[in-house]
């Protein structure tokens, strides 16, 4: 049998199924990073409240905690599995690779997650109901458990970028896959961002406190916390960038001018904001603080996540699964074989178990229908297929090209793997013909 283990295709028009995952991921990062950052902040505040006998700080923690329950533990705890869930629909073999390499890491994270979720309810609702020393210990354990969830997930998402060395391919070991070159820089980068977010969200709460003196004191503190977090984020971002694979550097060169411009703008704006919080806390009010959270989401996180997704190209996981779900190389440690050559021989029509019989052979009658299906199969994980689509629209990239030009491009660039950030897609000539014919009907 010539089939390979491809799954049915799910495609969401204009946006693309991969971006559905990206949207969920961006929301999750805001909520989850705030949650871990706040857990660390709570440990600091609870320590201070206990040592200095400051009952008013418990009140602040309670208010912050109630907000956190809704913001992070409703939105964050649902979007977390949500990323994974949408990934199964958008990129099944990519997420399957992660699951089958790291299932025990995920299961370990789940233990931390269970502790974290029941811990946050205890932490918030037991303020004033248990003695302060026990509450302090609870807060410490909550902070460590929250950071633990980061420590566990970070190796998996770093592996999505690349394992860092060749060891994993040889041994197939989850440890070699997990502790790659950019695992630690990535972790500290995110810890910095979490600390910053705990301050940014902390200001939403502190700026609404009725007690003027406490409001200013805590807003000032949140400003300082945010500054520290922002500095760590920048510092570790530079380390992180230096641990990326070569193909990412090619892409980075393309995107870097835009990134630098946006990041400098953001850095100036947020430095000013944090400075105002530290030196003139009375100017920080809840509407402003809330707007700044939205700015982080829209101007900071969304482009950042898009960039991270782009830098991984042409892979979705471990640099052995292409975004179009084809296995690109052998992984001897796991007994995994490349599928590129097989695909070149039998094409998607021969390789996919999900092609209806009437479409397995290209005829003049079904040529465009097959071409559409093949284009969806080969390209839609990275490109929306509608003209003017939002997700790297394919038709805009080949606008005005005729079928022959499109076919030539496919045969000389895609089939040879000449473009470093695109999968090597070698297909039988008839399949390229059908794809080119369909694309040429759509790109005018």
């Amino acid at each position: 049998m010539d089939h390979i283990g491809l799954f049915p295709l799910f495609y969401f028009p204009d946006i693309g199924s991969a971006w559905l995952m990206g949207i969920t991921g961006t929301i999750h990062i805001l909520a989850s990073h705030t949650s871990v950052g706040a857990a660390m902040l709570f440990a600091f505040l609870a320590h201070k409240a206990y040592r200095e006998d400051r009952p008013e700080l418990y009140e602040y923690m309670k208010k912050y905690g109630m907000f956190l329950l809704i913001f992070s533990y409703v939105i964050g705890s649902i979007t977390g599995p949500g990323i994974w869930y949408t990934a199964t629909a958008a990129s099944p073999r990519g997420i399957s690779a992660l699951i089958h390499n790291f299932v025990w890491v995920w299961a370990t994270e789940w233990v931390f997650f269970v502790y974290e979720v029941i811990g946050v309810f205890a932490l918030v609702y037991f303020i004033g109901k248990i003695d302060r020393k026990t509450h302090l210990k609870l807060t410490y354990t909550f902070a460590l458990a929250s950071v633990g969830t980061l420590m566990l997930i970070i190796g998996i998402i770093s592996f999505m970028m690349w394992p860092g060395t060749d060891a994993f391919y040889v041994t197939g070991s989850a440890s070699d896959a997990f502790f790659g070159l950019n695992t630690f820089p990535h972790m500290f980068l995110r810890i910095g961002f979490m600390i910053m977010m705990s301050g940014v969200i902390g200001m939403v709460i502190s700026s609404a406190l009725p007690d003027r003196e406490l409001r200013f004191e805590l807003t000032r503190k949140m400003g300082l916390v945010s500054m520290l977090g922002g500095f760590l984020t920048l510092f570790f971002f530079m380390w992180y960038i230096s641990t990326l694979p070569e193909s990412a550097e090619v892409l980075l060169d393309l995107y870097l001018p835009d990134i630098i411009a946006t990041r400098i703008g953001l850095m100036v704006a947020f430095s000013l904001y944090f400075a105002v919080a530290v030196f003139v806390p009375r100017l920080i009010n809840q509407p402003l603080a809330s707007v700044m959270v939205a700015v982080v989401l829209v101007v900071g996180l969304w482009p950042g996540e898009k960039l991270r997704e782009s830098l991984r190209k042409p892979y979705v996981a471990g640099r052995y699964i292409y975004s179009n779900q084809i296995i690109s190389r052998d992984v001897p440690g796991k007994g995994i074989k490349s599928e590129v050559e097989q695909l070149a021989q039998v094409g998607f029509l021969g390789a996919s178990p999900w092609i209806p019989d009437r479409l397995r052979t290209i005829t003049p009658e079904n040529r465009l229908e097959v071409g559409h299906l093949l284009t969806k199969r080969a390209c839609s994980n990275c490109h929306s297929l509608e003209k003017g689509g939002k997700f790297r629209p394919l038709m805009d990239k080949v606008a005005g090209w005729d079928a022959a030009t499109i076919k030539t491009f496919m045969q000389t660039s895609l089939a040879t793997g000449a473009i470093p950030y695109m999968p090597k897609i070698a297909l039988p000539e008839a399949e390229f013909d059908a794809m080119a014919a369909w694309i040429a009907t759509q790109n005018h």
């Binding site: 969401f12 199964t88 269970v114 502790f179 007994g335």
Partner: protein, 398 residues
């Protein structure tokens, strides 16, 4: 779908441990998840009734906010517990999991946001009821419907996943490929049975609630008697309804006379007797846990058998055992999982039993559990960094 194709859809990396272990973990964690799904459904539904009565009935005035709070906590716990069965099932049943998600991709995406919206609305309901707002019932109903629909979507994914003979037809009806991910299929009897379990679950919860608070003198005997008796009614009537639907479901699935099924029926009978007697609801709860595990096992057996019939055997899944990560999970699960959960539940139990502040410094078990949990976490983090550094040194410098 033929056996060769189904087996081809397995991940080429293989599974990192014995498939039966993943299957057992799936059964266990699904039972825990389902228990909180049913508790949230039952407490939420009953709280809506209570919200219409609390203005004129002092008992409902006390009970309704407690039910709302129970629903709120349960939804959070069901979400976190629900992650585990999803994780374990896809390790061994890849074809079922990934095909279903692609066939219903739009619903997968919708599920996430409906759940968020439903839960956020639930918080709105909680605060509206707390403030005595007249909109509480309306808001609560909207939340309830959203969360129930999210549950129906999960049911849709589950029943699609056990119909491999239909997948190709659903993906390409009449040979025309449909990539819209809009497939939606339900099995009414199976759904009705699972939903009906919310009635006995909330009934046994009410019995527990009543027994737990009986040691506190700020709740009247009359009130606790009212709750307890309502719990007994819910538990007994609910169990009878569920038993009838269970018989229809297992008959439809062809497993009515399977030993697991008969054991479940025996468990339900014991549960019914204990619930009616209501002398110690904690024992009833213990039996309920056993019955939940049995139902989860029956559910898994149905799926396993369907897949065996089409030539897919999870026990034949190629293995690439990864001992370090297996050991990490087991140690974390046993040491942190048990100690940590024991710490918080012991503390919660004592807080609930205490009027005023619970001083855990005078309670040896809580005090020690707090310290041990903290030290386990510190040791875990140190070990993590040591392990990571060792691996990196080996791979980069070695």
């Amino acid at each position: 779908m033929d056996a060769a194709t189904l087996n081809l859809l397995r991940d080429p990396a293989g599974v990192p441990f014995y498939p039966v272990v993943f299957q057992a973990l799936y059964v266990l964690t699904f039972a825990l998840h389902a228990a909180f799904v049913l508790l949230s459904l039952g407490s939420m539904g009953l709280s809506l009734f209570g919200a219409t009565r609390q203005g004129r009935d002092p008992h409902w005035k006390i009970l309704t906010p407690h039910l709302i709070q129970t629903g709120k906590l349960s939804v959070s716990i069901l979400i976190v517990l629900g992650v585990a069965p999803l994780l374990f099932t896809q390790v061994i049943y890849d074809p079922n999991w990934y095909v279903t998600n692609a066939l219903s991709g739009v619903w997968v995406f919708a599920f996430i946001y409906l759940l968020i919206l439903g839960y956020l609305t639930y918080y709105w309901y909680y605060y509206a009821n707390k403030k005595g707002s007249s909109s509480n019932v309306l808001v609560g109903t909207v939340s309830f419907l959203l969360l129930v629909f999210a549950g129906v979507l999960m049911h849709n994914f589950a029943v699609e996943s056990i119909q491999p003979d239909q997948w190709m037809q659903w993906y390409a009806p009449q040979g025309v490929v449909d990539t819209s991910g809009t497939n939606f299929h339900i099995q009414p009897i199976r759904l009705a049975f699972l939903v009906s379990l919310a009635i006995p679950v909330v009934g046994i919860f009410l019995q527990n609630y009543s027994q737990f608070l009986s040691t506190r003198n700020d709740f009247s005997k009359e009130y606790l008697g009212f709750v307890s008796s309502m719990g007994t009614k819910f538990a007994s009537i609910g169990l009878i309804i569920s038993a009838v639907l269970y018989a229809f479901w297992t008959l439809e699935a062809g497993v009515l006379l399977h030993p697991l099924s008969l054991a479940t029926v025996a468990g339900v009978v014991v549960l019914l007797l204990l619930a009616i007697k209501n002398s110690n609801s904690y024992i009833t709860t213990g039996v309920l846990v056993v019955v939940a595990l049995l139902i989860s096992s029956v559910r898994e057996y149905i799926k396993y058998q369907i897949m065996i019939d089409v030539g897919y055997n999870i026990y034949d899944y190629p293995m690439n055992i990864d001992w370090p990560s297996v050991i990490m999970f087991l140690l974390t699960f046993v040491f942190l999982g048990f100690t940590g959960v024991a710490f918080i539940t012991t503390m919660a139990w004592n807080v609930g039993k205490t009027q005023g502040v619970f001083d855990a410094q005078n309670h040896t078990a809580t005090r020690r559990l707090a310290s041990v949990t903290l030290w386990i976490l510190v040791a875990w983090c140190l070990f993590y960094f040591a392990w990571g550094m060792m691996v990196l040194f080996k791979n980069v410098l070695g």
